[in-house]
């Protein structure tokens, strides 16, 4: 199964290279999405017959959650993408290159999630940068070049610093010469704390760059705003998760080595800075895709805070990750609809979405309600659990600050979304393909149903036990 999930995109790229048929591009992306979903479900149920890649790639309780989230989001995005392409002339021109990049991008994220070795994980995280750079630069405008440059340059520096962290972890290991997570976990107690702490700082700041944690998030608003909407959805809902998983794995080493107080402190600081930055910027923002990008920074901050809280907080973080991925993917895809209808990304120029395209308008509002954690959004459970854990651990000021910053972000987002949806627009009624609504409806329905009935609570709680 793992071999299939990792080798199929390479074969698909080869087929696309040899057979130059336009229809084949969409078919290959959708086929990969279906195979990805089937394989992920099988892997989640531990059905993995005679696989050769067990050494470097394997599933465990933690990465199964990330894998299935990636699969579901990619599945939804692949169908949306098929409809979106028809409305984007620049996409139709270079469709083959676009398809190569999408396939390799998903491959690299899958590799990063499944890798059992810190070094290989790092390589795949770097590969995500290289594969997605082309997708951000795709429109070849001045702005997209600027966004792609910032993305590649900032992320490459971040990832290079993460490699410094890996080298320093090598120094901390002493006689152990392995970067396999299992070896690192079982020997963590004997690691030299000085080098381990130094290594954690480098890895957190390096991979935190990729995850979009403030203050090293600068590439994120530009890249999310400039890339085609299906890619923005993948960047926000899956790429950031892949980076978060690597941070979680390294945090576990710190926890087992007894250096978790120090790691938690840095995670809290970065988490709250992310919330603060989002609260400051989201209020004044003029571009709705950038607004969603800042919302991603905020949610990454929440994930970091949940991880730092540990135990129930970590479980809340995992629930939040699932909810955020589904809702944010739907939000970004709906922003693609708005872009198609209004041909602008400026918040002020978009009014009366409800009267112009009722379905898009409601999807826009429901996505907002979902991301704002209004019950029954699954994010309500996660944010409630995080606040509850904070108060239980007697972090009262922190809990109050958390609620205050979330409220500010909510107000900023809500103001823009309501202005865009409710006012009467001069735009004529527009009809888009059904495939530009159905993926969002499914993702939002899942995240609202999970808010009412969450059947994996026990599984997630047991996974979060070690943190």
């Amino acid at each position: 199964m793992i071999s299939l999930i990792l080798l199929f995109p390479l074969v698909a790229c080869l087929i696309l290279f040899l057979i130059k048929n336009r229809a084949l591009n969409n078919i290959m992306i959708i086929l990969y999405a279906i195979i990805h979903l089937i394989c992920s479900v099988c892997l989640c149920f531990d059905y993995n017959p005679s696989d050769i890649n067990q050494n470097f790639f394997a599933t465990d309780n933690l990465n199964k959650i990330f894998l299935i989230v990636l699969s579901i989001v990619f599945f939804a995005v692949s169908f949306y993408n098929a409809a979106y392409i028809k409305y984007d002339k620049s996409l139709t021109r270079k469709l083959r290159h676009y398809s190569y990049a999408v396939l390799l991008f998903v491959l690299s994220m899958t590799g990063a999630i499944l890798s059992t070795n810190l070094g290989i994980n790092w390589v795949f995280i770097e590969a995500t940068t290289l594969a997605s750079a082309y997708l951000i630069y795709f429109h070849k405008t001045k702005h997209s070049i600027e966004a792609a440059w910032k993305y590649v340059f900032i992320c490459s520096i971040g990832i290079a610093l993460a490699f410094v962290g890996i080298i320093l972890l090598g120094a901390a290991e002493g006689d152990l010469n392995s970067l396999f997570y299992n070896d690192l976990y079982s020997n963590a107690k004997s690691f030299e704390p000085f080098w381990l702490k130094l290594s954690f700082i480098f890895i957190l700041f390096g991979i935190g760059t990729k995850m979009g944690l403030a203050p090293v998030h600068f590439w994120l608003p530009d890249a999310h705003a400039q890339s085609p909407s299906p890619i923005s959805a993948l960047l926000s809902a899956t790429l950031l998760n892949s980076a978060f998983l690597m941070i979680v794995n390294v945090f576990k080493i710190m926890k087992l080595a007894g250096c978790d107080f120090y790691a938690k402190l840095i995670l809290f600081v970065m988490g709250f800075i992310s919330l603060f930055i989002a609260a400051v910027f989201v209020y004044h923002i003029k571009n709705y895709k950038r607004m969603l990008a800042y919302s991603s920074v905020e949610n990454m901050g929440i994930l970091a805070i949940g991880l730092a809280l540990g135990g129930v907080g970590m479980a809340a973080s995992l629930i939040h990750l699932i909810g955020h991925s589904f809702i944010k993917a739907a939000f970004f895809m709906t922003s693609g609809n708005i872009l198609k209808i209004y041909k602008t990304k400026k918040i002020k120029s978009v009014t009366g979405i409800l009267s112009c395209d009722n379905k898009t308008g409601w999807l826009w509002i429901l996505s907002f309600l979902g991301i704002a954690a209004f019950p029954p959004s699954v994010l309500f459970i996660s944010e409630f659990l995080i606040v509850k854990t904070m108060f239980k651990q007697e972090h009262y000021i922190m809990g109050a600050l958390f609620l205050l910053l979330l409220t500010i972000v909510l107000y900023g987002l809500g103001k823009a979304v309501i202005n865009m949806s409710a006012n009467n627009g001069a735009q004529e009624k527009v009809k888009l393909s059904q495939l530009m609504y159905i993926p969002q409806i499914v993702l939002l329905a899942v995240s609202f149903i999970l808010g009412i009935y969450f059947p994996f609570y026990g599984y997630i709680m047991s996974t979060a036990q070690g943190f």
Partner: protein, 229 residues
């Protein structure tokens, strides 16, 4: 012997910090590739890990030999030949010869980078138990190269200078990986090599695109995307 090459590598950063000619920067990158090669070879010879017996028992020493071949390809092949050649091509295409508008005058850049290098040597002389796991001079100089490169990225004004500083930072990281008294797994090294190569390739292509689109390589051109507009 390798200490001389390490010090020369540290000094090469002073030259990069104090000159504005991009051609000189690229030549210095090539020189750094050679210096890293000599550091690896003399280091291996010093530890008696590079001798004629290696070739007598090829089967047993295959992993070690693979590591040596990798080092030669990375330092001599990629760092001192392929990357400078590629950057020279980009330089000729873009006709950008100088980075003359740096935020800090050359003299001060030289002083500040000298202070960073000196601090690196100071770190190399710190005697704490944790330092027994690494070679102090490698560690001190590599940290000073990484910090100087990051600082140069912030003060230089053309995107090509930023790419060059990124590669010098990668050279610093390569030296740091040599500071640990054990070998990193080969597969990781291969991944690193591939990533540096592709990252530089993509950055180089973007430099050309920036030049075509903006008719200039100034970083100030790349500040149009703002939150409040």
């Amino acid at each position: 012997m390798e200490n001389i090459f390490i010090i020369l590598l540290g000094l090469s950063m002073l030259y990069i910090a104090s000159t504005s000619r991009l051609k000189a920067h690229i030549n210095m990158l090539s020189a750094q590739g050679w210096l890293l090669f000599f550091i690896c070879i003399t280091g291996l010879a010093h530890e008696n890990r590079l001798n004629i017996q290696l070739f007598e028992n090829l089967k047993e020493n295959s992993a070690h030999l693979l590591g040596i071949i990798f080092i030669i390809i990375e330092t001599l092949g990629i760092k001192s030949f392929v990357i400078p050649l590629f950057l020279n091509k980009v330089l000729n295409k873009t006709q950008a010869h100088r980075d003359s508008d740096a935020n800090i005058p050359h003299f001060y850049a030289l002083v500040i980078s000298s202070v960073i290098l000196f601090s690196g040597f100071m770190v190399a002389n710190v005697q704490i138990p944790a330092f027994k796991l690494i070679s102090p001079l490698y560690f001190g100089v590599s940290i000073s190269i990484i910090i100087t490169s990051l600082w140069l990225i912030t003060i230089k004004h053309t995107v090509l200078s930023n790419v060059i500083s990124f590669i010098t930072m990668e050279n610093g990281i390569f030296l740091l990986s040599l500071a640990i008294a054990k070998e990193m797994p080969v597969i990781v090294n291969l991944g690193v090599l591939l990533d540096i190569f592709i990252a530089v390739f993509i950055l180089g292509m973007l430099v050309r695109e920036i030049n075509t689109e903006f008719n200039d390589l100034g970083v100030s051109q790349l500040s149009d995307l703002k939150d409040y507009e």
